[in-house]
Subunit: 234 residues, 2 copies
DNA sequence: GAGACACTTTGATCCAGCGCAAACCGCGGC
DNA sequence: GCCGCGGTTTGCGCTGGATCAAAGTGTCTC
């Protein structure tokens, strides 16, 4: 394992307000890992031996039901923590994390959490802010699933992805990792068939452009109107 | 405002491991409030001036969508914290809280949070455990809404209520506050009509007994089997 | 550059659950 | 003890999306 440079994590939300010396101390405890596409970072129900920071790539957090159905809880972007079960008093991961592309992550032993949180209050509060934000997000999705039609839910999901990982191109804003119809279906509680139909319909209207494992949002505003349930003319 | 006795909160999860003197100090900062049935404790979007502990009664946490649909996020039982937006770095309440029956709550000024959390680490960690549990719960509901049929969702919702607030009677386990078909519908993303039909069907099969604003679960095990999607014979 | 595999599109059918409408209580108030 | 209101039941028709089925199509391998 090579020495980790503090520039890797300087300025990231969880580490804000820490001195360079602090950062080095924290990094000394971490291992850096390379995760190949489709490999799992941690496994649902598995013992929470570590928590992680995504340095590069994109990770899909997935819950699998007893009967094998999958639901994508969220995507993790670079700079975000994941697998922080320990911080919440849990000893087991509530979901699996799968690399959507080749990734680089930092891993800390889980039992280090109390130590880190104690020594670096800003790290602790930063983490809890993240948790708070995710709680918000989860509850917003509950409301969405409980009240919206499929079309609106898919539109919302795309907009969330665009905001989180969108990359500007000449055609519009591209979701910056391979994402299939099936993935979108698992984010929104529908089927890949319905997602496919929606995307082709939207493409005909000029809202998006999409291809194999690829979606570009051409007209975010119109898509947003759709997500809000404001049907558009034509 | 009368002096508050520490026995009110002794032994509650958030205050575990605090000395009597600590408890008194914490209570000195709190006001106790009486909230009449159907009054709101705090309002969605409102500035988060306080956080609360429910001492007695039951509180419904409700999110309202822009177009007026309501979703019941959760019920709060005695001993639970609510309105802890401040602890999560938010300045505004993400939902409204409405008394399901006459309630008694303790209220602390929100800006006291950092102070309390700093002085009483066990209070802080206890709170974060609660938040963690709620995140879990919210994500479980996302999975439920995304993968289950209405019948299973309603069954799950009833079982959750039974576990949280069930009171044993001769007929079975009674949900211990007035709850309408509409309420159940708003917990599960369906309509009061469908809930009504389900309850009558279940009543015919001897799983539950229900009446005006009242549900008693007679056979939790069979209801659980139903919730898990294991259809029953007959 | 041929073949295979994984992803996507599209069609056809079906049904769970919604929306609407109307009747039906149980309970509190006067 | 009657009235009225808020909650509940029930019937019926309709439809958004699921399910089933099969035919395209982009991309990687050898």
């Amino acid at each position: 394992m090579s020495r980790l440079d503090r520039s890797l994590i300087t300025g990231l939300p969880p580490f804000q307000g820490m001195t360079p010396a602090d950062l080095d101390r924290v990094l000394q405890q971490a291992r850096s890992l390379r995760i190949a596409k489709d490999q799992t970072v941690f496994e649902q129900e598995g013992e929470a031996h570590s928590f992680f920071l995504l340095l590069d790539g994109h990770v899909r957090v997935v819950k699998t039901t007893p009967d094998g159905q999958q639901v994508i809880v969220r995507y993790i972007s670079p700079g975000e923590l994941m697998g922080i079960a320990h911080a919440l008093g849990r000893t087991t991961y509530p979901a699996s994390a799968v690399a959507a592309v080749d990734c680089v992550v930092l891993a800390w032993p889980g039992n280090l959490w109390p130590d880190l949180a104690g020594s670096f209050p800003s790290f602790a509060t930063g983490t809890y802010k993240t948790v708070g934000a995710r709680l918000q997000e989860a509850q917003a999705r509950v409301v969405e699933l409980a009240t919206e039609q499929v079309e609106q839910r898919v539109a919302h999901a795309l907009l969330r992805l665009v905001k989180q990982t969108g990359r500007k191109t000449e055609e519009g804003i591209l979701i910056d990792f391979p994402i299939s119809r099936q993935d979108i279906a698992e984010m929104t509680g529908t089927t890949l068939h319905t997602v496919s139909r929606l995307l082709t319909a939207w493409e005909e209207r000029g809202l998006v452009k999409s291809g194999r494992q690829k979606v570009t949002v051409v007209e975010p505003h119109r898509l947003f109107a759709l997500a809000e349930g404001r049907a558009e003319k034509g």
